[in-house]
Each structure stands twice: as structure tokens, then as C-alpha cells.
């Protein structure tokens, strides 16, 4: 189960800056693997604003988050990066000068000469509803994701939310649940119209319940839910028996395990030097929104610049014996060969 993957550089975060780091490293013959907690590349560009316009990418008057992600993926294709999506780096230890061993929550182990933290605002994690005393139930009878559907067979389920996650799991779990109740704050759903229609048909046929309001209290013991109270928008409170609850309120960014790796932090940001964007640990770099230095701006374009300078320093660690000669992609045949255009 535990495979060890050796790489020159491990990049934590596959947002725009992490992706562009692959390009800058690749031009210097440095191979990279990327780990991202999302199930897709692009980071905030993909998760928060795929269809929103970005106006400040140099030379590109207008591009969407999705468009920029696609363009970067095309740009780094010659360097064949390996992606490990849906995974979070949970542990990092120093093994050399420099050298690092990292582990993910999927059980993978990486050995890398250098590590680049390009984690933006942190890891995207599910929003936790502010229901008093919810913590003891989490991962026991309150779940923010479905790993095995069968775990919910024959259970009384409460699903909360109005988007595609809430609707998809409602439709998938309704046939195997003993009873399923969907709770949403309003009687309109932003999920796919087809899913909404299917859900409404199930409600009309008596196959499930729909309640408009919010969950206010939880009852149970030892992490096992027994019942929930739902306050309707009319002010009435209904109490229903529940074995498991699945809240779907979207994602939020949390710093996550980075804070435990012995890196000097400054209020959830990583201070770096502005020559190589290196942290207090040699060979461990931080680029993009997660770093801080005098004058820092959280702009994609700044992250691109940081990635370029980081790569120069990383080259010294990965190829200590080689002298780096600065070259331009416009004129260097060697660089153009790497890009597959010469």
C-alpha cells in the first residue's frame, strides 16, 4: 500500500502558481510531482471562479479561471508532471541537506530534493455548520463526504444543502436508506434541474421528505446521532430521528497541516526571501498566496514571478554540480527542444 515516489521536486498545490512552477522547473530539467486536495487542477481558479473573468494576467486582457487553468495545463504538458489529486500532504520531514520525505492522507510517501508549497489560501475543506456540539459526531455519524455508500444502507439519513452534492447524494442514497430527509434553507435548489425534478418526484411519491429550514440541534451519544431538530422558516421546530447527517455547504480554505512542519510562520503565511522565495528551511520554498514578504501582493502574476526565481535556486540543489546559464525561450534551441518546438 505504501509506495515511495522519488522526485526532484514535490509541489504542494496545483493552482495556477503550482502549475506554472512545473514550467519554470521543467525548463531547468527538474521533474515535479504535484499533490492537491481537490479532485481537479486549478486551485481557486477552478473551485472558486471557473467562469469569472481575470483581467490582470500580463498579455492576456481577459481569461476565465477555467481558461487559465486549461492554458497552463497545455503550457506544462511537455514536462509531463504527475498529479496526485484528492490527496493532502499530511506530514513533511527533513531527511537531507536538502531532502524531504512527505506523506499523504492516501498513504503515499514521497522523497523529494526540494519542496514547493504553492498551497494558496490553504486546503479546501468542507464548511462545518455552526451547530452546537457537532464535533463529537464528525466522522462517526456526521460526514462531509460519502466514501462508501453501503455505510448508509438501512439508515435514517439527513442531508443538508441545496446544491449538486446534496441533490446527487439524495438521489443516490434514497434507494438504500431506510428514510431520507433533505433539509434546505429555501424551497429553491441551485443543483441541476434534472436532479431537482427527480428529488421533487420522490417527495411527491412519498419516497423521501423535504424540509425547508435549518438544523438547530443534535441529539445522541458517543458520536452516534439519534435525532435532529429542524427549525422551519415558519418558526416551527420539528424533531426527527436520524442515524447519520451529511451537510453540504461547500468548501472553505483552511491552512491545514502546513503549520505543523516546523516552518517559520507569520499569521498563517510563510515568510520567504525575495531572491528565491525560500522558507527558513533550505530547499523548502513557498510561492503564491501562501507566502509573505515586504510588498507582497496576492496576485497570480506575482506567483508566476516567484516560481521563476524559485526554480533558479532549486536548480542549485537538484544539480549542484551544474552551472546554470540563463536562457530565453525565444532564442535558446535547448529550451525549445524541451518544449518540443525545436
Amino acid at each position: 500500500m505504501s509506495e515511495t515516489i522519488k522526485t526532484d521536486v514535490l509541489i504542494i498545490g496545483a493552482g495556477p502558481v503550482g502549475l506554472f512552477a512545473v514550467f519554470e522547473l521543467g525548463l531547468l530539467d527538474i521533474k515535479a510531482h504535484l499533490v492537491d486536495i481537490l479532485d481537479k487542477v486549478g486551485g481557486q481558479c477552478a473551485e472558486l471562479y471557473p467562469e469569472k473573468p481575470i483581467y490582470d494576467i500580463p498579455g492576456i486582457p481577459l481569461i476565465t479561471g477555467h481558461g487559465l487553468t486549461d492554458a497552463l495545463m497545455q503550457q506544462i504538458k511537455p514536462f509531463h508532471p504527475t498529479f496526485h489529486l484528492n490527496e493532502m500532504v499530511t506530514a513533511l520531514e527533513k531527511t537531507g541537506e536538502p531532502g524531504f520525505r512527505l506523506r499523504t492522507d492516501a498513504g503515499k510517501t514521497f522523497e523529494a530534493k526540494c519542496v514547493v508549497i504553492a498551497a494558496g489560501g490553504g486546503s479546501f475543506q468542507p464548511k462545518r455548520p455552526p451547530i452546537q456540539g457537532i464535533e463529537p459526531y464528525e466522522d462517526k455519524s456526521v460526514f462531509y463526504a460519502v466514501r462508501k455508500m453501503d455505510a448508509f444502507r438501512g439508515k435514517q439519513l439527513l442531508i443538508v444543502g441545496g446544491g449538486d452534492s446534496a441533490l446527487d447524494w439524495t438521489l443516490n442514497l434514497q434507494p438504500i436508506a431506510k428514510r431520507l430527509t433533505l433539509v434546505h434553507r429555501r424551497d429553491e435548489f441551485r443543483g441541476a434541474p434534472d436532479s431537482v425534478n427527480k428529488m421533487r418526484a420522490l417527495v411527491a411519491a412519498g419516497g423521501m421528505d423535504l424540509k425547508i429550514g435549518q438544523v438547530t440541534t443534535l441529539e445522541g451519544s458517543d458520536g452516534q446521532l439519534a435525532a435532529c431538530s429542524i427549525k422551519g422558516n415558519d418558526g416551527n421546530v420539528a424533531r426527527i430521528e436520524v442515524d447519520a447527517m451529511l451537510p453540504f455547504f461547500g468548501l472553505t480554505m483552511k491552512l491545514g497541516p502546513v503549520a505543523d512542519w516546523g516552518i517559520k510562520m507569520d499569521d498563517e503565511l510563510i515568510p520567504v526571501d525575495t531572491a528565491a522565495f525560500e522558507t527558513n528551511i533550505p530547499g523548502l520554498f513557498a510561492v503564491g498566496d501562501i507566502n509573505t514578504y515586504p510588498g507582497k501582493l496576492k496576485l497570480i502574476l506575482s506567483g508566476f514571478h516567484e516560481a521563476a526565481l524559485m526554480a533558479q535556486k532549486a536548480h542549485r540543489y537538484v544539480y549542484p554540480e551544474k552551472k546554470l546559464v540563463f536562457q530565453y525561450t525565444t532564442s535558446s534551441t535547448s529550451l525549445q527542444k524541451k518544449l518540443g518546438v525545436a
Binding site: 481557486q44 472558486l48 469569472k52 455552526p130 435549518q214 461547500g250 472553505t252
Partner: protein
């Protein structure tokens, strides 16, 4: 300049000058109203700048757009007067606006 008052969950009041054309979210960040997170920076995509508009001001501020209404599904303890502050533009008509900020923005 219009004045906006933010009243945080613990009762802390911030009465600040707001620039015309900026948003109620941006004004909060400029003035260190800590309970406005604004994770996405004003894109109406994260629902971490929720405010409850004072009842007397709710009609003047107006209702959310359908895009914003959808995003409010990802916020908590949403009330009929709730708005995402990044979607409220500061105008002269909002001079004296009072908004309440929640204890929890989802993070």
C-alpha cells in the same frame, strides 16, 4: 462620504467612512472588521462575507441577485435580511447603513 456601521456578534461597533463605488465588504476589510473573511476577494463565490442588514435598511439595500441568492446557500443562519457584503455597492443612499456580522463565516 457615506458612513457604515458594522456591529459584530460580540457587540463591537465600527462606524467607518465608506468610499463611493466600493463595496460593503471592501470597506470592512479596509477597516479591520475581522468577522468579514471574504475568502474569494469579492467574486460572489465563497459566502464568507455574510452580513445581516439592519431591518430599517433592508429595503433600501434591496434583495440579493439570483446568483447571490444561490451563494447564500453556502452560508449559515441566513435570514431574510442577509446579504453578501461584497455584492452591496456603497452609494449616497446608504449613508448611515447598519449591518450585523455573524460569529462564524464557515471557517
Amino acid at each position: 462620504m457615506p458612513k457604515i456601521t458594522y456591529i459584530e456578534h460580540d457587540g463591537t461597533r465600527h462606524t467607518v467612512d465608506a468610499e463611493l463605488g466600493s463595496t460593503v465588504m471592501e470597506t470592512a476589510l479596509r477597516n479591520d472588521v475581522a468577522s468579514i473573511v471574504a475568502e474569494c476577494g469579492g467574486g460572489c463565490t465563497c459566502a464568507t462575507c455574510l452580513v445581516h442588514v439592519d431591518d430599517a435598511w433592508s429595503a433600501i439595500v434591496g434583495p440579493p441577485s439570483s446568483e447571490e441568492e444561490e451563494m447564500l446557500d453556502s452560508a449559515f443562519e441566513v435570514k431574510p435580511t442577509s446579504r453578501l457584503s461584497c455584492q452591496i455597492k456603497v452609494t449616497d443612499a446608504l449613508d448611515g447603513l447598519i449591518v450585523y456580522t455573524p460569529a462564524y463565516q464557515g471557517r
